[in-house]
């Protein structure tokens, strides 16, 4: 069989289904609607929890719609920039490292990416803030978080491309597809499921770690958490934490849908 081993996928239950796997109507609806329903329930619970408190002035400074929305948008904006940068760096790098001739660099580069993920992000952010004082705070925060998120995308891009059957590539070359055509029409489509899994992981990691940007004053929902800690207000702290978690899970849910849409039929 020319079919490559089944790619590892996080979550979802579509892997084992027949060709062109699509979950059936009812199951699919449950899967797609279940997560947002649960997240909305959490938000509602949070609203009731906060509403039950008699907020003092300090708490009200953090817990008002305008402040929370602005921090949420900041958070999403930072996350978006980080993810776009991760994709722009890790996907081409992963493709380049799987080309014949460049393979010998794949070990060192992966080791470097491993280091990027092994170092605690908060340490990296603070370190960069000290070392590169002249950079803007956003640049510093984004650089540190990008370094943290590169590994899953890079590794899955390489794994995804490596698991494409050599027979498929050979027959494509044998029929007269050029190297670029083989990459775009055969290798990348076949690597997409594994690559998307890595990208989804990176997305969730990023939304979570962007919360740390607050420590150098780069904003985001981390501000709410930080306010809660510094003013010793549990209700603020809980609100910030829950919002970050809900945001990360919502992004994961969206990415799951995108994954299902982009996965090629037949594999």
């Amino acid at each position: 069989m020319a079919i490559a081993p089944a790619p590892t996928e996080p979550a979802g239950g579509t892997g084992a289904a027949g060709p062109g796997p699509r979950p059936g109507g009812a199951r699919r609806l449950l899967r797609y609607a279940g997560a947002p329903a649960a997240l909305l329930a959490v938000l509602a619970a949070l609203y009731l929890y906060v509403g039950a408190h008699d907020l003092d002035r300090i708490e009200r400074r953090s817990l008002n719609a305008e402040y929370l929305l602005s921090r949420t948008w900041q958070h999403l904006g930072l996350s978006l920039v980080v993810v776009v940068l991760i994709l722009a760096i890790a996907v081409p790098l992963g493709v380049a490292l799987t080309r014949p001739g460049a393979r010998r660099f794949s070990g060192p580069v992966l080791a470097l990416a491993n280091v990027g993920q092994a170092i605690p992000t908060i340490g990296l952010i603070v370190l960069f803030a000290v070392a590169f004082v002249s950079w803007g705070i956003h640049t510093i925060a984004i650089t540190a978080i990008v370094l943290y998120g590169i590994l899953p995308v890079l590794r899955n891009t390489m794994v995804g491309l490596d698991q494409v059957s050599p027979a498929v590539i050979e027959s494509a070359r044998g029929m007269g597809l050029g190297r670029a055509q083989v990459l775009w029409r055969v290798e990348l489509p076949l690597a997409v499921p594994v690559m998307l899994a890595g990208i989804r992981t990176a997305l969730v990691l990023t939304v979570g770690t962007v919360a740390l940007a607050t420590f150098i004053g780069a904003g985001g929902l981390g501000d709410v958490i930080s306010n809660g800690i510094s003013s010793n207000r549990t209700v603020v702290l809980v609100t910030g934490s829950v919002l970050v978690a809900v945001l990360a899970l919502a992004v994961d849910w969206l990415a799951g849908i995108v994954e299902d849409v982009l996965r090629p039929r037949g594999i």
């Binding site: 069989m1 020319a2 007269g176 076949l190």
Partner: protein, 411 residues
């Protein structure tokens, strides 16, 4: 190779001239100074053990592996310096693991090269249906399936159809029927020969199985260690007159039995002197026929002269078994069956004769054990006959170069 060029073909579709492939860091080249001519419209089988360079040589032809030195000439054109992608689009390519694109449907897979060549959508779609029909897959059922929804044999059929898609003059096939169960494999081989009878492509076919080589090849190139061609000749000549001990060993035991599979009964003269009696004959006529017969059995033929049964000479004139069709005919062999099938039928029915019929199933004659022995020995090329293909005993087996002999047509 001197022995290869000695069998120079009259109309070479592919000519390899002094081709060498050396890998850096290896003392011996994988292919060293090899010359070979592959005649137009024939199946040439590269056969040999693993690692003998047969696949390497095949990939040198479409330059999936670039030669270190030497020339490749296809249809009179030197393609050694041509753009390799354009070269490959003009050469069909099928491999053992099929290499079908799992994310593309059967139709999209087959359409790969026509699309690259910029065919119109209608032309592509018509061609896909034509090819699916040709390889025995109903287009309406299979067009929109994905490769993993097909059995191994069906995938191979699609692989062959894809290689044929843009109607290339030359096809390269690397063990296309390799990883398949024996029954499906034989069916695919027979269909492949049937298709080739119509399309008459120039095909380079790589296998490690000498039986497959003998069955499919118009010519066989037996590869020895180190990318050397030990013998390049017709299957008959390779089997009956191996060039050296290596080839003899590679063929293995049973060379004579293998040669039986090379001769279809259509090329064999059947003996017509066996006593027969029409099924319409009454008891007296049958008794008379048995009395005058010089054999132990008389063959009964029906009104259309189809063989139906045997009457034994030991039957008494009043025996009930004398009427009717007699003992059942255990086997009768048609024009596409081979001497091997005839011998097998004799051994199976414990007889030393089989009945041979024509295309229409009518009686053509009988073939005896002695006749098979004689055929297989007179088919051997006489010693010192030279590289020319020895003429077989059967009529119509003209092997003059450059003509499409009817003998080849049958295989």
């Amino acid at each position: 190779m001197t022995d290869a060029s000695a069998t120079a073909a009259p109309d070479a579709m592919i000519r390899l001239e002094n081709l060498t492939k050396a890998y850096p860091g290896q003392a011996e080249p994988a292919i060293g100074g090899l010359s070979l001519e592959i005649p137009r419209g024939e199946i040439v089988v590269f056969v040999g053990p693993s690692g003998c360079g047969k696949t390497t040589l095949m990939k040198l032809i479409n330059r999936l592996i670039e030669p270190t030195s030497g020339r490749i000439v296809i249809d009179g054109q030197d393609v050694t310096e041509m753009n390799p992608d354009e070269l490959r689009r003009g050469i069909g390519y099928a491999i053992q693991q099929t290499g079908l694109f799992p994310h593309r449907t059967v139709a999209q897979n087959i359409a790969t090269v026509p699309r690259l060549l910029g065919w119109s959508a209608e032309k592509v779609s018509a061609r896909v249906d034509e090819l699916l029909t040709m390889v025995g897959l109903a287009p309406d059922t299979y067009r929109d399936r994905y490769p993993r929804q097909l059995s191994g044999g069906q995938q191979q059929r699609v692989g062959v159809a894809r290689a044929l898609a843009a109607d290339p003059e030359v096809m390269l096939m690397d063990e296309p029927f390799g990883a398949i169960d024996p029954i499906t494999r034989e069916a695919l081989q027979n269909e492949f020969l049937r298709i080739q009878r119509d399309i008459r492509k120039t095909i380079v076919f790589v296998t490690h199985d000498i039986d497959e080589a003998v069955k499919l090849g118009d010519r066989i190139a037996v590869f020895g260690p180190g990318g050397r061609i030990a013998q390049y000749d017709t299957p008959e000549a390779v089997l009956s007159d191996p060039a050296d001990d290596y080839v003899a060993e590679f063929i293995g035991s049973g060379a004579y039995v293998k040669r039986l599979t090379l001769t279809p009964l259509s090329r064999v003269a059947a003996a017509t002197d066996w006593p027969t009696v029409p099924s319409s004959a009454d008891r007296e006529e049958r008794v008379a026929a048995l009395r005058s017969a010089d054999r132990d059995f008389v063959l009964v033929l029906d009104g259309d002269r189809r063989p139906v049964g045997w009457l034994g000479r030991d039957l008494a004139p009043d025996d009930d078994r004398l009427t009717g069709n007699g003992l059942p005919l255990l086997s009768s062999l048609g024009p596409d069956d081979t001497l091997f099938d005839a011998l097998n039928a004799m051994l199976a029915s414990n007889a030393d004769v089989v009945v041979v019929t024509g295309e229409d199933g009518r009686y053509r004659g009988t073939l005896g054990m002695a006749a098979i022995q004689e055929l297989i020995h007179t088919a051997s090329p006489a010693a010192g006959a030279g590289p020319e293909r020895a003429a077989g005993p059967a009529p119509g087996r003209s092997d003059s170069p450059g003509t499409d002999s009817p003998g080849k047509e049958v295989r």
